[in-house]
Symmetry: C2
Subunit: 632 residues, 2 copies
Amino acid sequence: MGTHIIVFYPEGKCAEAQAGETLLSVAHGLGVALDSACGGQGACGKCKVIPRLGKVDAEKSPLLSPDEEKEGYILACQARVTGDAVVEVPVESQRGRLQILVRGEHGLETGAPEGPLAERIELEMEAPTLKDNVDDLNRLTRAIKEQRAVEASPGITLPVLQALPKVLREAGWKVDALVGEMEGKTHIFGLQPASERKPVYGLAIDVGTTTVVVQLVDLETGALVGTAAGLNDQIAFGNDVISRIIASEEQSERAAALQEKILETINRLIEELITKHELEREQIICASCAGNTVMTQFLLGIEASALRREPYVPAARHFPGVEADEVGLTIHPRGPVRVSPAVSSYVGGDIVAGTLATGMDEVEAVQALIDLGTNGEVAIGNKDWLVCASCSAGPAFEGSGIKHGMYAGPGAIERVEYDALSDEIRCRTVGEAKPRGICGSGLVDTIACLLRAGLIDRAGRIDLGRPTRRTRVVDEEPGFVLLWGEEIGREEDIFLGENDIQNLIRSKAAVYAGLSILLKRVDMKASELEQILVAGAFGNYLDAENAVTIGMLPDLPLEKIRFVGNSSVAGARMALLSAEARKRTEHIAAKMTNFDLSAESDFMEAYVAGLFLPHTDTSLFPSVMEKCAERI
Amino acid sequence: MGTHIIVFYPEGKCAEAQAGETLLSVAHGLGVALDSACGGQGACGKCKVIPRLGKVDAEKSPLLSPDEEKEGYILACQARVTGDAVVEVPVESQRGRLQILVRGEHGLETGAPEGPLAERIELEMEAPTLKDNVDDLNRLTRAIKEQRAVEASPGITLPVLQALPKVLREAGWKVDALVGEMEGKTHIFGLQPASERKPVYGLAIDVGTTTVVVQLVDLETGALVGTAAGLNDQIAFGNDVISRIIASEEQSERAAALQEKILETINRLIEELITKHELEREQIICASCAGNTVMTQFLLGIEASALRREPYVPAARHFPGVEADEVGLTIHPRGPVRVSPAVSSYVGGDIVAGTLATGMDEVEAVQALIDLGTNGEVAIGNKDWLVCASCSAGPAFEGSGIKHGMYAGPGAIERVEYDALSDEIRCRTVGEAKPRGICGSGLVDTIACLLRAGLIDRAGRIDLGRPTRRTRVVDEEPGFVLLWGEEIGREEDIFLGENDIQNLIRSKAAVYAGLSILLKRVDMKASELEQILVAGAFGNYLDAENAVTIGMLPDLPLEKIRFVGNSSVAGARMALLSAEARKRTEHIAAKMTNFDLSAESDFMEAYVAGLFLPHTDTSLFPSVMEKCAERI
């Protein structure tokens, strides 16, 4: 009594669970890829499952549609174990691996390695004699110094020293040394006979709140060998970093689980690269990571509570270099792992890395970088100064908080065109898969189309009087049908409601307000910017004209708006490959001035003014007004 | 079949052993304190045991006396398991803990700490505000830099950073930081609330081939709080370092066991200090070690084979700083452990530490340091130059290779006076315990007495014609009875045979030759030395006049000969307490020139010339010739 067997179909994972435990908790305990955005509060409706055999004690949820109820859907977080059961995780609730999140970084290229974070040095030494009987370590460091023409002797880790005499002699004094940089000092962390020589690689890792991207880089050529990307498993504890910190505060096991989840995610992606490229773990000898401050603290296992409480103090801005083993990455256990330094609690190492990747910090011209991840951050500056701010854009651009919203994974509608005359929609989905939902770029496109077609007004309200079949009221909410259920073999249509539109309007208003107020702080106009660089997984697909149309970006000539893709991973890769780049990230983090906009009243004013399409002050968007002239 | 139970009495340890396994191997597997000097070769006769119940398959050994045979003694290394058995380890075969090995270092004093290897820094910080919201790490290092008036920021270990936000806030911004030095850089490796403040300590450790000495030092005052000393458990694998290296080469498990044994020894002594002084392990926050090169490599787990093979190359001369946990010392796991740098394969960190302790490297006057441990090393020099040599004196001074010889443990005869008129011997034993054998200082005394009394000639041969009951032939070997069996309740007398005398003569000849040739290399006479400093556990009890009498030390005015005790541990303690001293050890190791005497013909000549008492060339020992004038 009290313990029951729960099986999750189709993964087939099963556990003995206590009566009363929620299905979500059982699923996460097993590592079942079951979606969840609110951390089990019953608020997001993502953790839908269908009991197939046996029974569970489930509460009704208003988040389930009548169709779903009919099909037997329940929310896993609102269902408790009462006996043995088989529970299906339907496709829409499965957290899938993203197909492609980084399609290249749109011109953010890194060159050949110049002082990589770690490297293999090929050495050939004379055997010692009675005349030349310096100690083995001296002989080794002498050879390294000669070959690299440096003065300073590298240090050595104890495990390498322990085996040093044996390895040198057995290898006939022909060895490869693995030399890494840690806190500005070099040290020898590996040694192997030259006869066992194999290529060595490094990783550039973007540790995103929603998505994690791992790039495999050849340390000799600097070439990008492969990329793996996937959802951050921490999503089980909430969609945004604040929910996750709160989750970590509730129980100490949860805090530990949060650290484990991000490591599991990264290690799974590493495993994928190792398998695909037929590597041995020890061939990956270093890793360069970039993430926002909260994710960085989670990754390193640093207590994160203070980050969400006034005065919002990070544990550190410069994080110490650590060995892979110490942090828990499954590469060469002694390989150096470097984490990009942060600016503040809400402007992290991802923005610093992004700034590095864009080269903003090296040129005279003033540019802006807008990174739209799960949050939104803005940086402005040039070689002399840099300012930044977090603008609390929220995760709507990632499909979160949107009824049919989803991450930019397979089946996500990423491009939308609407022909008012024929009332027809043309969509493109990620991976050209069967449409399952809509992601950020699709949302921006849809709202821009609706605005241009006059189907919504400037407040985002649906005009039900227009001649189209697609506007309708569902569950008392007016909205717009993107795809009919029958078109895609679903009972339900893919539908964008007024609430969804409001959600996206709030997000775009925050981005625009963040950029505006930061420009105001440095006494500049948007038109004075040489370029606006838009980064983020989202940015890969974003239509610049539509982004201006909805008032997310200022009304500049479109050639001034450039999508740079994942600038965080590009910066991490630069830091992986270049000593100079690593120094630059330290300088960027040190000289970037953070403005805490949430505390300032003009930000709130600017934000509220942005809650119209494209903006309350239409004179700021002449090109948009022209296009929409006849209707709004 | 095949497995039998073996119990060792009186310790009561028991094991299941394979038929055919030697009792010595079973005993060492169990950690039974059973003596052994030859590593189980049947050559030393130290591992005597008595089977009490059951039976074992034992070979006869010529090393057992008829008395012993009658009592059922066998050698554990020559006895194999054939069935269940209870085996007694008699008192004389029990490796005991030494009662006192360091009676103070005879004036080698260390002062108050100035830049200890690690320290506790008491900090009180202002809580962060929106105006002063620097990151926690910055706030912490800022406070440390202010308090210590230094420029450079210390680094931080990951575990401290992980808990930093929580500890700072829970402690109300009043904390104690543990800051240590590693490879010349400081780093924060511990942090605790000020409310939990406790004194912190460091260890100075002399890692001797035979004896290990651990001193507990108060890091605030520099006071020596306690000392623990014991035999190196590695003795089970041989008395000298070469036998141990050979043992380690035979089986890889033995190599691992050798590392374990030295750590077990040190950790047992640490445990003793922790218990006696009622400390928590984490209160001991650093350790400074000194040992010969082989012992240092064993301690750090560095493969040692090359040390015994031409061209005798050590793995390193400067050993990297490591964390206690990494090397396996059971103190604060992250506390820095420093090992004294070495000069060559056979002049190690103990001599470097000893040189530091004597201050030879800081003064104009030229002095010699003779360290008589299990080997013998000589260093000569002043503030401008330093030379050194190992002189292969062998372990006779430690009682090894002497029939009734023993370490300077309880019951060892350490002082001997002989009154020729009454034919009476006056002895003093270590710990004033019941005499069990004779240690080095007793041997030197005895031989000097015999020489002065004319009972031996200058070649060390017993004159059986002298009027004394004490000279006699036992088992065809002439010798001298120190103590009669009935005096001390033993069947056997304590007897010094001609072979023992020859053994000691070879050792003293090596020391004298080493010093002479090293002086010759720097073109000096012994009389030009300001002082001869004699160090080593042995040195604590050595009678200077007797040492000159047998020709071990040159015939200088006795006030020029000074016993400095354990200079190795004194140097380790100085390095523990002072940054300046740590720098000095690096300078000493770097500037000391090593002479490999074993390869030089004049050393062999000098050695052979020293195989007489006091010397072939009696003109070198005028004071001795005067005292012995009437007889030799």
